[in-house]
């Protein structure tokens, strides 16, 4: 009951964001100087054809009705139609969404794999040489542009050593997996430092708490204290950091896709902006907003599972 109420309240919280994003996108496109259809078709069509496109897309209806129908259709998975690519937007997105999801998933996974042991060890021996090395490395890592890391990884692992594929998406699960290692590592270079900084700080805070002292005095082994008690309490703030940065992560993913020539939403996006394919831009804006909002939602729900007090707070 508590869980259901929490989930519903969180889902309802996402609605204003989605409405805001779609409304903003929709209104902004109205401000495009000139006739969007003529810009899209680059003047290669006659007046009658332009009028026909207006008719087909329903763009001569009042704005409020256009927006309302976009929302209603979007709710059923219909994101409109790309005039330039002559295909439904949802179909174009459907073709390209898997590599992007792989990339985000792999990036987050590798970041956690890297950040977790490093911050645990750094927090176990604060102010040691290891701690200082980890903190300096994460400071430098934070300043590294993801696309630059990507190029260096391509140069090192892909071209010189020849260990890993450097571009494309591969075939089958194993193919996807190996093709995603370098792009995922690129994301991890950017994300892991942020995670390490917050995880280390919150681990140190958590280790200061009274219940840790109690556990120590009861003779709970030190490794258990770290893994069970401290880590559990340090995960909450880290999840929050992760969800705050998801918007950056998605933007980073677009750039990383371009480095590794991944056929994902990022390449679709760059193309749509280049061609000024407004229906596609509008659809992609909503898709990206949904991804960001959904990850935030998952982080919220994980918070609720890790710490049941969060459930009662809403």
């Amino acid at each position: 009951m508590l869980v259901a109420r929490y989930v519903i309240s969180r889902v309802l919280h996402t609605l204003p964001v989605l409405i805001g994003v779609t409304l903003f996108t929709f209104l902004a496109i109205q401000f495009v100087p000139g006739d969007p259809i003529r810009i899209m078709t680059r003047g290669h069509v006659s007046d009658a054809e332009v009028a026909a496109i207006y008719d087909r897309l329903g763009m001569n209806r009042p704005l409020a009705i256009q927006y309302g129908s976009f929302i209603v259709k979007a709710a059923t998975g219909d994101l409109g139609e790309s005039i330039i690519q002559n295909a439904p937007v949802s179909e174009l997105v459907g073709e390209k969404i898997a590599p992007t999801m792989w990339l985000l998933g792999m990036g987050t996974f590798l970041s956690i794999i890297i950040a977790l042991p490093l911050s645990l060890l750094a927090a176990a021996w604060p102010d040691s040489a290891f701690d200082h090395t980890v903190r300096t490395a994460s400071m430098i890592g934070f300043a590294m542009p993801p696309f630059w890391i990507g190029l260096l990884l391509i140069l090192g692992f892909g071209l010189h050593l020849g260990w890993l594929p450097i571009s494309g998406y591969g075939d089958g699960f194993l193919g996807h997996f190996t093709h995603m290692i370098l792009p995922g590592l690129t994301i991890a270079f950017f994300l892991a430092p942020i995670l390490i900084q917050s995880l280390r700080a919150s681990l140190l805070d958590a280790l200061d708490a009274d219940h840790i002292e109690v556990a120590r005095s009861r003779g709970v082994p030190e490794w258990r204290i770290y893994l069970k008690h401290a880590l559990r309490n340090a995960l909450l703030p880290t999840l929050t950091v992760l969800s705050v940065n998801i918007s950056w992560l998605v933007s980073g993913a677009v750039v990383v896709e371009s480095v590794f020539a991944l056929p994902g939403l990022g390449s679709l996006l760059i193309r749509s902006v280049g061609y000024r394919d407004y229906p596609l831009i509008q659809g992609l804006a909503l898709v990206f907003a949904v991804i960001v909002v959904a990850v935030n939602l998952i982080a919220d729900l994980c918070n609720g599972i890790i710490d049941r007090r969060v459930l009662r707070a809403t």
Partner: protein, 289 residues
């Protein structure tokens, strides 16, 4: 802060202040000073014209004449990196501190007033925080075309939110303190209380955050230029230069590597300053109580 009874000389006070800085703060400030110096005096520091194409020295590896080598058009990469610093630093500066200038007062005001003002500001802030930056930049680029203006507009619309949130949180603590109460009892208008008394005392966490924000903004600018939505070639900009070198990465690793190192160095310097400021301001806050 103003507890000195016998006012020591200016120089002495500066010396005492500098002496209290941590090593990270000094190192970061030193690095940043060097970088800013090179950017400001680029025409004198740079050995070559950044746009000069010399087809006799195409794709030359780094040597004593061309410290960072040359690119596919024979341009001197060291000179281009120095000129690029002008653009990346000034754009990053504006992207960070313009939103801070209105973000902090907005948050401080909401935190001071509380009630419905706080609720309205709070929901607008939350909404803007959740608004994916990528979507904003796509939409703005779709309307006005790629370039630095599109990036500025997007960042000015969304970048203030963290500052508002931080200032609000600090103001919630500050507003119950005696000096605030005193200002209110003395009948100062809210505007004065918030801007003159509140903001200076709520700005510390924003200043610390602004250093990592600065780094993120340089990364953002260079990333967008890399995918072609930001600064357009041939203007020397670090991200655009990395994009230029992408095709030649096998023959000439230095074209991509050098501008990237410039970004890493700048970002690290800013992080060091942020780290040092966090300790400096944190301790002062602690002792001032």
């Amino acid at each position: 802060m103003k507890t000195e009874v016998a006012t020591p000389g200016v120089l002495e006070r500066i010396a005492r202040e500098v002496g209290s800085w941590s090593f990270t703060l000094k190192l970061g400030l030193l690095l940043m000073t060097i970088i800013i110096f090179m950017a400001v005096f680029a025409p004198w520091v740079a050995p070559f014209d950044p746009e000069l194409q010399d087809f006799d020295v195409i794709l030359m590896p780094p040597d004593l004449t061309h410290l960072f080598g040359t690119d596919n058009l024979g341009r001197d990469i060291f000179s281009r990196v120095i000129y690029g610093a002008r653009l990346d630093l000034s754009a990053g500066f504006l992207m960070t501190f313009v939103p801070m200038v209105y973000g902090v007062p907005i948050g401080a005001y909401a935190g001071y007033r509380g009630g419905w003002v706080d609720m309205v500001v709070g929901s607008v802030t939350n909404m803007a925080i959740a608004f994916p930056f990528l979507v904003m930049i796509i939409v703005v680029v779709a309307v006005i075309g790629p370039g630095i203006n599109a990036i500025f507009i997007s960042v000015f619309l969304l970048g203030w939110t963290m500052y508002a949130r931080l200032a609000r949180a600090e103001m919630m603590v500050e507003r119950t303190k005696d000096y605030m109460l005193a200002a209110r009892v003395l009948g100062y208008p809210t505007r004065i209380i918030v801007l003159r008394h509140g903001v200076p005392n709520t700005v510390a966490s924003s200043v610390v955050f602004s250093m990592s924000d600065f780094t993120l903004n340089i990364l953002l600018l260079s990333g967008l230029s890399f995918i072609g939505l930001g600064i357009q070639p041939p203007t020397p900009e670090w991200g655009a230069m990395i994009a230029d070198g992408k095709e030649f990465i096998l023959q000439a690793w230095w074209i991509c590597t050098m501008p990237g190192l410039a970004i890493v160095l700048t970002g690290t310097a800013l992080s060091l300053i942020g780290d040092g400021l966090a300790r400096r301001l944190g301790s002062r806050h602690g002792s001032a109580g």
